[in-house]
């Protein structure tokens, strides 16, 4: 067993910062009234002397201009779970620990290669999403958690090495139950190595079974007792904008973030998305922008481009305060195959993506194919479909067909071929009785025209032999 631990030291702050391109001094505050104090501060704020734990009033005395946002535990929880969904891509066993995610990777190494390679993949994903992190690996999840807290990038592969690595860890960083961790240094026990060397009976008498269980979990003598994380079946992401937005252009940056998050989430559960909804929240009510695709997709750039195409057509009735992306329908994703002997240019855009791009701007029904039906009436002989009956018509048919016949004006046309009688449709009320001719007009156009059987006037034109 090899467990990787991703520690997220700045989760609350990163969740806020990642959607702000320009960051001045910014702090997160918790508490009420005069007791409000800083729980997180970004680099610019720390440079100005602001510290975690400081009262907000003290901070305001130090620095005149900075942003103070409320610390929202539920947002932190949201990002925690979101990153677990991203990590789910690399392992089926993912669990949440305080400020950290652990995942079992020994079997994943078969797929992704050695640990350094998997580690760099994880780091690249987290960097792209904008979350600061520390990563370590150890044979047990709790040990990985402890090691990550001490230093970044530690790797312990065997139980032997683990015992050695735990020797020097101070108890203050051992994440053991607080009562024991506070009391033991007073007894001269300062490192995990010293603690592990003590007789177990004595420890149990003094500190209870809780401490022993924690130690056993750390060394792997007892099961880790973690609840496995399961990614949710729907994606729901809400971003509050920093100010009221009246122009669609200002929504593009947050939209890019949201679609990238959706893509990362989909990659985690190896799924795709076929339709999703963007909700633009106003002071009163909201505007919905629906994005539908022909086939499940998950590529970030494509999702972004399609969503932007739909968004740009929207007229905003009121300023936008927040944006929300909801995807309920998450079918399995089947990557498109490509022939080895493909005659397309190397940088060709796949036809599916081209179709989506056209649909995003021109409308859902803009791109289609026509196929023939078995109905002989020209108006009903073809329809928008992906399938084709493949019926070969023996009589001449034009190449252009009018949606409905129009009267043929001007002098009587010259008849080139015909007649072909169509008398059908009595069963559904759309009965037709027509004699079709191939005609040539005075201007030299070849048309497909019909008149009532037995007559040679009142020509109705139905198509061109173009």
């Amino acid at each position: 067993m090899l467990w990787a631990c991703i520690l997220l030291p700045q989760l609350a702050l990163d969740g806020v910062l990642r959607r702000r391109p320009d960051a001045g001094p910014l702090v997160l505050v918790a508490g009420t009234g005069h007791a409000r104090s800083i729980v997180a501060a970004n680099a610019a704020a720390r440079d100005a002397g602001l510290r975690v734990g400081q009262r907000l009033s003290a901070a305001q005395a130090l620095l005149a201009q900075f942003e103070a946002l409320p610390y929202q535990p539920e947002r932190v929880d949201h990002w925690h779970r979101f990153l677990a969904a991203v990590a789910y891509r690399y392992s089926a066993e993912v669990s949440l620990l305080p400020h950290a995610i652990v995942l079992e990777v020994s079997r994943s190494l078969n797929l992704f290669g050695s640990w350094p390679r998997l580690e760099s993949l994880l780091r690249a994903d987290l960097d792209a999403l904008g979350f600061r992190h520390r990563i370590s690996a150890a044979p047990t999840p709790h040990a990985a958690h402890v090691l990550t807290g001490v230093a970044d990038g530690q790797v312990v592969l065997t139980d032997e090495q683990l015992r050695h690595a735990l020797q020097r860890i101070p108890l203050s960083q051992s994440r053991l139950p607080a009562a024991a961790a506070d009391a033991l240094p007073g007894m001269g026990i300062r490192t995990l190595g010293q603690l592990l060397a003590l007789p177990r009976d004595g420890l149990r008498r003094r500190f209870g079974a809780e401490l022993l269980l924690a130690l056993d979990r750390l060394t792997g003598a007892a099961p880790a007792g973690l609840e496995a994380y399961r990614p949710p079946d729907r994606f729901d992401l809400r971003i509050e904008l920093t100010h009221e937005v009246e122009a669609i252009g200002a929504l593009v940056f947050p939209l890019r973030r949201m679609t990238a998050d959706l893509s990362a989430y989909l990659a985690g559960r190896d799924g795709g998305v076929q339709r999703f909804t963007l909700q633009l929240e106003h002071r009163e009510g909201h505007t919905e922008v629906k994005v539908g695709l022909l086939a499940p997709e998950r590529e970030a750039g494509m999702l972004f481009e399609l969503a932007r195409g739909r968004l740009e057509q929207v007229q905003l009735p009121q300023p936008v305060l927040a944006m929300r992306l909801i995807a309920r329908d998450l079918p399995a994703f089947v990557p498109a195959g490509r022939d080895l002997f493909d005659e397309r240019p190397a940088n060709a855009l796949p036809i599916e993506q081209l179709r989506e791009r056209l649909r995003a701007r021109l409308g859902d029904r803009a791109v289609h194919r026509l196929g023939s039906t078995t109905d002989p009436r020209p108006e009903l002989a073809q329809k928008v479909t992906a399938h084709d009956a493949g019926w070969q018509e023996p009589s001449p048919r034009p190449t252009w067909l009018f949606e409905r016949p129009i009267p043929l004006r001007g002098p009587a046309p010259q008849i080139l071929a015909g007649p072909e009688r169509l008398e059908t449709g009595w069963w559904d009320g759309g009965e037709v009785c027509r004699d079709y001719y191939v005609v040539e007009t005075a201007q030299g156009q070849r048309g497909w025209a019909f008149c009532t059987p037995g007559e040679r006037d009142g020509w109705m034109l139905h198509g061109w032999f173009a």
Partner: protein, 208 residues
Amino acid sequence: MAAVVPLSNLLDARRVWRGRAEPPPAGEQPTGWAALDAVLPSGGWPAAALSEILLPLDGVGELQLVLPTLARLSQGARPVVLVAPPYLPCVAGWRQHGVDMRRVEIVNATEADVLWATEQCLRSGSCAAVLAWPRQADDRALRRLQVAADGGRALAFAFRDRRHLSNASPAALRLELEARPQARVWVRKCRGGAVPAQPLPLPTAALH
């Protein structure tokens, strides 16, 4: 340093004219009409380039010119795209000319979006041929299509009214159709060769 281009490439691409005419190499994109292939310098449609077809009216045989090519291309790997056709393509009629309609994508676009959609299709590189019916296309718009066709290695056809003939065009080939007194095709411009002095009789398919 600029890349060295062999002289034979320039000659084969018909970018350099020679005083003494050589028999044209077999075209990459034959039109399917022997008489037309014989007069076109590339032995067929200019590959990866824009061809402009100018008509006096709809329904004078403009599709007859391209249907053999479309029939051939619809058997290939890349589909054919029609952008904003003026009427519905009649499935039975196209099939009689051998076109596999399952490989023909029809794009409905408004006046303002025709050129955009055409350029996207051409540029994508995943279409064998793109047929467009732009109403308002100036010199610059057509040049964009020409560049996109070159980039996407696709055949581009623009069907326009004959009154645009007097305006200069960046298209590699310009054909003008005439319905009266006879159905004829004039080659008005062809890149890489002299323009034939005589019109060709317009090929008319037999009425099945």
